[in-house]
């Protein structure tokens, strides 16, 4: 296959650049959209194109070079035909993605770290911080196709599958309705995770079956239900009958589900169906009908009940019931009633008072009282105020905001509009990370529909209040979740934070008072306005009122998205809702709050989910990522993992974060490599304290948290690493694979070993050559008699 990218400037057609500039504008703040357009066109950023941009706009060479090299998204060299983005988020890390990456690179023949494209130019491999599909960990994306549950062994199949695929782009609109009385509705979740599990092809199969059978059934795309561990989920709602949910549905099953629920129309088709079923009942194999029945899950059954039971839906109200971008449906479900109230009946003070009563605190992680923030912006001096929705959810292991944006775009718009009204802003911006294309698409569509309907624009809902909402995409920088860095990014600069005070509430976008709130925060607002702040405050704890959306992932049986009242204990979340660990072993810790948070040990599992309680236990609330860890997870490795993330994402401005976290990471890497020195723990603690107290922004200030919390609760593991042992048997440098005498000499391990570290000896006990072994775990995975042991320590 030939490479399709050209590297020589002479052959680059620069007229495309002119088109992009016309679309994005010539101001300095157009730089990121222009760069994104250039990359979409040429698949990297040719220097000639960047120079042309400087000629056509106010953007200077210094600005464009600085911005183009700051954000992860931008590539400066041509790439292969297909891009493989391997997720290195928390859940994926815990699920073993480093070994998957190794296997992938080996398979593509990439030897040195600098090489990222195979020799034929087919695939370029990129590590990305988090794709937000945590319950399918480990995950990778090849172009637009997502694959989950990877193993080092499955890598070659995945690549082959991708190359074989015909890219039938699943259209994301609803199926065409039928004339005549409807027999019912089939709902199918089509969020990013669901699609990664194949729900798009399930939907196609359903539509095809319906077309064939002629049944008058509507297929409806709905937003996330949260039961990610059960996807693809199909809910069948026969008119006048009991709704029935089917889990883990495959495209092949879809046909049977449809036909068993909705009889084919027309006598000929019906007879055909019955005859087929009759014949199948003789073959002895599970008939299609039986198979379909086996996928059904009963909403009253324990696992579902346990998962859904304790939840309270505020931000995720009507989850799984409405089509995300269907405006009429949103309106039918109390949509924009809250906004109407805030424009018609209530004034700014009343709105803000209600927010005070509700006690809502920022859901992005810091937990600042929302009412206070709104009040600050409202009274700040400035002619042109802004409201920003922070959709730069960068915590690896967190995907709540993605889900809310994909499933409830109108709700977020409503919350944002209410906030804008309360603070007096007539311009609002959605800032969404570019790694969330579906969320961006749905928000863009929702904004357009709102404008058409007069819900946004010069006189929203017919009132004398104007609000213009624009959409800006991030370009790959975790630090841009910090509000001053976000503002810098919107202004077309490198996402470098600045010291606060002054806060953006007083001095923000373009120097004007700017409200910055998280997606989930806005998503709670309409409910609060409709039901009253007191109703919200009635849930939760005295200092942490209301509900919180969490993304439960890691070793847990039932991972997914949940919304629970604050005050629920971690134990309840992990054991009751999550069903405990997949392995059945007791869980060891819960990582709360992502790279800014900490690991709460099982001994403290009765800690309630509450801002202050979590801080006391050595963590933070964070944005909502909860990763469950068990005995197979190494806490030193977890600390190293998080620190390597924050180190990579550091903007580089302040000394302690830029260099301090690097030195801390080097110590952790030495520990995990068995090269720790006695003085290391003290040095690590000392640096951690310094970085925490002497960094410019929240990224640096909280980067040491995972280290500090694991040192506090799991110090013994650190000491073990100093002695050359990894108690969890994870760290490759400290473990050995050994084949014991259960070995039957089947040679399977020798055949599958990717580095030929096991010589095949038919019928004899095999041996692992420790010098060649890369600790990928393949031998252990394929051994039929469980003869492979993992050892650590000496002797």
């Amino acid at each position: 296959m030939s490479r399709t990218v050209s590297t020589s400037p002479a052959t680059i057609d620069l007229t495309a650049v002119e088109r992009m500039v016309r679309a994005a504008g010539t101001g300095r703040d157009a730089v990121i959209p222009i760069l994104q357009a250039i990359q979409a066109e040429y698949r990297y950023l040719p220097e000639a194109a960047l120079r042309r941009v400087c000629e056509l706009t106010e953007i200077t060479p210094a600005q464009i070079s600085g911005v183009a090299t700051f954000y992860n998204q931008f590539r400066h060299a041509p790439v292969g035909e297909h891009i493989i983005r391997v997720c290195h988020g928390t859940a994926c890390h815990v699920a073993g993605v480093p070994l998957v990456t190794d296997a992938l690179r080996r398979h593509l023949g990439l030897k040195t770290e600098a090489e990222d494209t195979d020799r034929e130019g087919r695939f370029t491999v990129e590590k990305v911080p988090c794709l937000g599909c945590c319950t399918l960990a480990p995950v990778l994306q090849i172009d637009d196709v997502t694959y989950g549950h990877l193993t080092p062994q499955s890598v070659p199949e995945v690549l082959e599958d991708f190359l074989r695929r015909t890219k039938a782009t699943a259209s994301l609109g609803n199926a065409v309705g039928f004339k005549g009385p409807e027999l019912g509705e089939i709902r199918i979740g089509l969020g990013s995770c669901c699609q990664a599990q194949g729900s798009a092809s399930v939907r196609e199969a359903i539509s095809a079956t319906l077309a064939e059978s002629g049944a008058a059934v509507v297929v409806k795309r709905v937003g996330c239900v949260g039961m990610c561990h059960q996807t693809p989920l199909v809910e069948v709602r026969p008119a006048g009958g009991e709704p029935q949910m089917f889990a883990k549905v495959k495209a092949a099953d879809a046909r049977e589900i449809v036909l068993s629920q909705f009889r084919p129309r027309g006598i000929v088709r019906r007879i055909g169906y019955e005859v087929r079923s009759f014949i199948e009942s003789f073959t002895g194999e599970e008939s299609g009908r039986e198979r379909a029945a086996s996928l059904a899950i009963n909403a009253r059954e324990d696992p579902v009940c346990a998962f859904l039971g304790p939840q309270q839906h505020v931000a995720t109200e009507y989850g799984g019931q409405i089509d995300p971008t269907n405006l009429d449906e949103y309106l039918r479900h109390d949509g924009f009633k809250a906004l109407e109230r805030c424009l018609g009946e209530w004034d700014e003070e009343k709105i803000i008072a209600e927010m005070h009563t509700a006690g809502l605190r920022g859901r992005g992680g810091a937990g600042f009282p929302t009412g206070v923030k709104w009040a600050t912006v409202r009274v700040a001096a400035g002619e042109r105020k802004f409201a920003i929705c922070n959709g730069d959810e960068g915590d690896p292991g967190a995907f709540m905001d993605r889900m809310i944006l994909e499933s409830f775009p109108y709700r977020v718009i409503e919350g944002l509009a209410i906030a804008a009204r309360a603070v007096g802003a007539h311009e609002a911006v959605f800032y969404i990370r570019e790694e969330y294309p579906l969320a961006t698409e749905r928000i863009a569509e929702a904004i357009a529909k709102c404008e058409e309907r007069g819900i946004l624009g010069p006189h929203i809902l017919g009132h004398d209040f104007s609000l213009r909402v624009t959409l800006k995409k991030g370009a790959g920088a975790f630090v841009c979740g910090e509000e001053t860095a976000l503002v810098a990014s919107v202004e077309g600069r490198r996402g470098m934070p600045r010291l606060r005070p002054p806060y953006p509430a007083e001095l923000g976008l373009w120097g004007q008072p700017t409200l910055v709130n998280n997606v989930e925060t806005y998503a709670c607002v309409p409910w609060i306005i409709r039901h009253g702040g007191a109703a919200f405050a009635a849930m939760g704890t005295p200092t942490s009122r209301g509900t919180k959306v969490f993304a439960l992932a890691g070793r847990v049986k039932r991972g997914g998205l949940i919304e629970v009242p604050m005050g629920v204990t971690l134990r309840r979340i992990v054991e009751e809702i999550g069903g405990g660990t997949k392995s059945g072993r007791p869980f060891k810790a819960v990582q709360v709050g992502g790279p800014s948070g900490g690991c709460i040990p099982a001994s403290l599992a009765d800690t309630p989910v509450d801002y202050e309680e979590l801080a006391r236990a050595g963590s933070i609330m964070g944005s909502g990522g909860l990763v469950v860890l068990d005995e197979g997870d190494c806490m030193v490795d977890i600390a190293r993992y998080f620190l390597s993330f924050t180190q990579d994402q550091s903007c580089g401005k302040c000394t302690f974060c830029r260099i301090g976290t690097k030195r801390m990471l080097e110590i952790l890497e030495r520990l995990c490599a068995g090269q720790g020195r006695a003085a290391d723990l003290a040095a690590l603690e000392n640096l951690a304290d310094r970085v925490r107290r002497t960094s410019l922004c929240g990224l640096g200030r909280t980067a040491p948290n995972p280290v500090l919390s694991t040192l506090r609760h799991f110090r013994a593991e650190y000491e073990a690493h100093l002695a050359g042992r990894c108690p969890a048997k994870r760290c490759p440098a400290l473990i050995r694979y050994r084949i014991n005498d259960k070995c039957i000499g089947c040679t399977r391990c020798a055949q599958r070993c990717p580095v030929e570290a096991i010589a095949p000896r038919p019928y004899e006990q095999h041996e692992v050559d420790a010098a060649k072994c890369v600790r990928c775990g393949t031998c252990k995975a394929v051994c039929p008699v469980d003869a492979v042991e993992v050892e650590t320590g000496h002797g």
């Binding site: 200077t60 060479p61 210094a62 600085g66 401005k653 302690f656 200030r701």
Partner: protein, 541 residues
């Protein structure tokens, strides 16, 4: 106006003033690196941190605005440690030598890069001044020194070390042949008198230095001729008499008095010396059993050269494992006012060690003569480039003069010129006025405390006036801001993010294209040696 307290002093400042500026108003100096006066703060270096009462975190004074009733402390123990750590972290990611490995390797710390640069620039006189003041006997040593400097020379990574010894020999001998050779200037006469016993390398070096400090100096020598082991231990072909005599003549010109045939313990009394002189230096050397030691051949203590222990004991001096015991910095023996240096202290070592010891003793004697305590040696910060990566060696090769080392020992002027161009000039251009180094010394920073991955050595020498070494950059952004202010068409920008962030011209532009009007100002304002004026541009030539 806002009223606050800084270091227990009341301060009144206009609203919006930073703590840094408010402190300056009352004469309290808070250190900074990334601050550019009268501009918005960069908040990058975090050296200016202070403790604000009630806050757990330390705050950057350059960017924190004063509020009413604020209580600020600028020099708590915690604040000082934080500044020290910030400096140490910056130094841990610093690719450069403050002082070249040659100078550090030389026991006398001769300013090698400077004298070679002077030679390159055709300024033989300055070169002579540097080697005379630095080595006391530069021509002599140019014949016999083993050349620790060359052992450390970075040029070795490319081909062979620079012939440093041959170069200072050339410089010193050329100077000696002048009708008016270089004589170091002497300070005004102090009226104080020092005695030196022993006219070997230690004693001669001490005498030269004492004269430069303005003290009278008399050298007592047991033998008939001066020079000690330099005279008696080396044949003519190793060290021509003419050279040694010429360098000793310099001492005479400076006013050093010599008395030969005076032997301590025989016709020379230590008590008498102590009575008549303010300070006495014993530089007796070592004696081979049966004759003086060859300072070049035997340098391992105990290999035949020995102290005259009987004499030493009879004088009442304490001894250590190698020789007479002295306090290392003060070079003082157990007898008040009596100092010792050279082989007498260290056992048999090279002449260059003796020269270094002699000079150290002279400094200590100077303090003693003035009745002052010898000041603590100030903390020194030495950033070391250390072991070079392949890529770094390649970059050195790119700008190094390609000439091979001159094999001759006795260089002609032409050969010396060629050899001088081989020098890579490793000393930092801002060796003596680097803010990072100076603050590091003030806060006792240990450059090697946080060893780990560091940025790579790079040198952009395209610009006619300014050299840019990205490895020394601390990302303060001063040069960026200066370039922006004068609207440089290209200017400088941050490339990349995090630990790998670098300051460079856009589109990989070289410095010559990136900076025009702002270049000189940027070099002067850069707080480290990253952007610095070339040697020629510095002195305006």
């Amino acid at each position: 106006m806002v009223k606050l307290t800084i270091d227990n002093r009341p301060v009144e400042a206009a609203a919006g003033t930073t703590i840094l500026a408010a402190a300056a108003q009352v004469g309290i100096r808070i250190p900074t690196l990334c601050h550019l006066a009268a501009r918005e703060p960069e908040t990058s270096c975090y050296v200016c941190v202070v403790q604000i009462e009630g806050r757990r975190e330390l705050s950057p004074a350059c960017a924190t605005r004063v509020t009413a009733g604020m209580v600020v402390e600028t020099q708590t123990e915690d604040v000082r440690r934080a500044r020290q750590t910030a400096l140490e972290l910056l130094l841990s990611d610093h690719a450069g030598d403050c002082v070249g490995p040659c100078t550090l390797g030389c026991p006398a710390h001769l300013e090698i890069a400077d004298f070679i640069a002077a030679l390159r620039g055709g300024d033989g006189r300055s070169a002579a001044g540097l080697v005379v003041r630095g080595l006391a006997l530069p021509a002599t040593l140019g014949h016999i020194c083993p050349g620790f400097c060359e052992g450390a020379c970075r040029r070795k990574a490319l081909d062979e070390a620079v012939a440093i010894r041959e170069l200072h020999r050339y410089v010193a001998e050329t100077d000696l042949e002048l009708t008016a050779p270089y004589d170091p200037p002497c300070a005004a006469a102090t009226g104080r008198r020092a005695a030196v016993v022993g006219a070997g390398p230690a004693g001669l070096a001490a005498a030269l230095h004492l004269r430069q400090l303005g003290h009278e100096c008399t050298v007592f020598e047991a033998q008939k001729e001066l020079g000690g082991a330099l005279r008696t231990g080396l044949p003519e072909w190793r060290l021509p008499r003419k050279i040694l005599d010429g360098e000793i003549e310099r001492l005479r010109r400076l006013g050093v008095k010599f008395q030969t045939g005076e032997k301590l313990g025989e016709n020379l009394s230590l008590d008498r010396l102590r009575a008549e002189y303010g300070a006495v230096l014993l530089a007796l050397g070592t004696q081979k059993a049966g004759g003086p030691a060859d300072p070049r051949a035997e340098h391992v203590a105990g290999s035949g050269a020995a102290l005259d222990l009987a004499l030493v004991k009879s004088l009442g001096l304490e001894t250590g494992p190698r020789g007479v015991k002295v306090e290392r910095e003060a070079m003082a023996t157990n007898l008040p006012g009596v100092f010792a240096a050279g082989n007498l202290v260290s056992g048999a070592q090279y002449a260059v060690h003796a020269v270094a010891g002699g000079r150290r003793a002279a400094v200590a004697m100077d303090a003693h003569l003035r009745g002052q305590a010898l000041g603590h040696r100030p903390h020194e910060v030495h950033s070391l480039l250390g072991h070079l990566k392949e890529s770094e060696v390649a970059r050195l090769r790119a700008f190094a003069d390609p000439a091979q080392r001159e094999a001759a020992e006795d260089l002609t002027a032409a050969q010396a010129a060629v050899e001088a161009r081989r020098c890579l000039d490793c000393d930092c251009r801002k060796r003596d006025n680097c803010c990072l180094r100076k603050l590091g010394e003030e806060y006792g920073a240990a450059a090697a405390r946080y060893r780990g991955e560091r940025r790579e050595f790079e040198r952009d020498a395209t610009h006619p006036e300014v050299i840019y070494e990205a490895g020394k950059c601390i990302q303060c952004g001063i040069c960026l801001r200066l370039a922006e202010e004068v609207r440089e068409p290209l200017g400088l920008t941050f490339i990349g993010r995090g630990f790998r962030v670098r300051v460079a011209g856009p589109f990989a532009a070289h410095l010559a294209d990136a900076l025009h009007e702002a270049a000189r100002r940027a070099a002067e304002s850069c707080p480290t040696g990253a952007l610095a004026l070339r040697r020629g541009a510095r002195d305006g030539t």
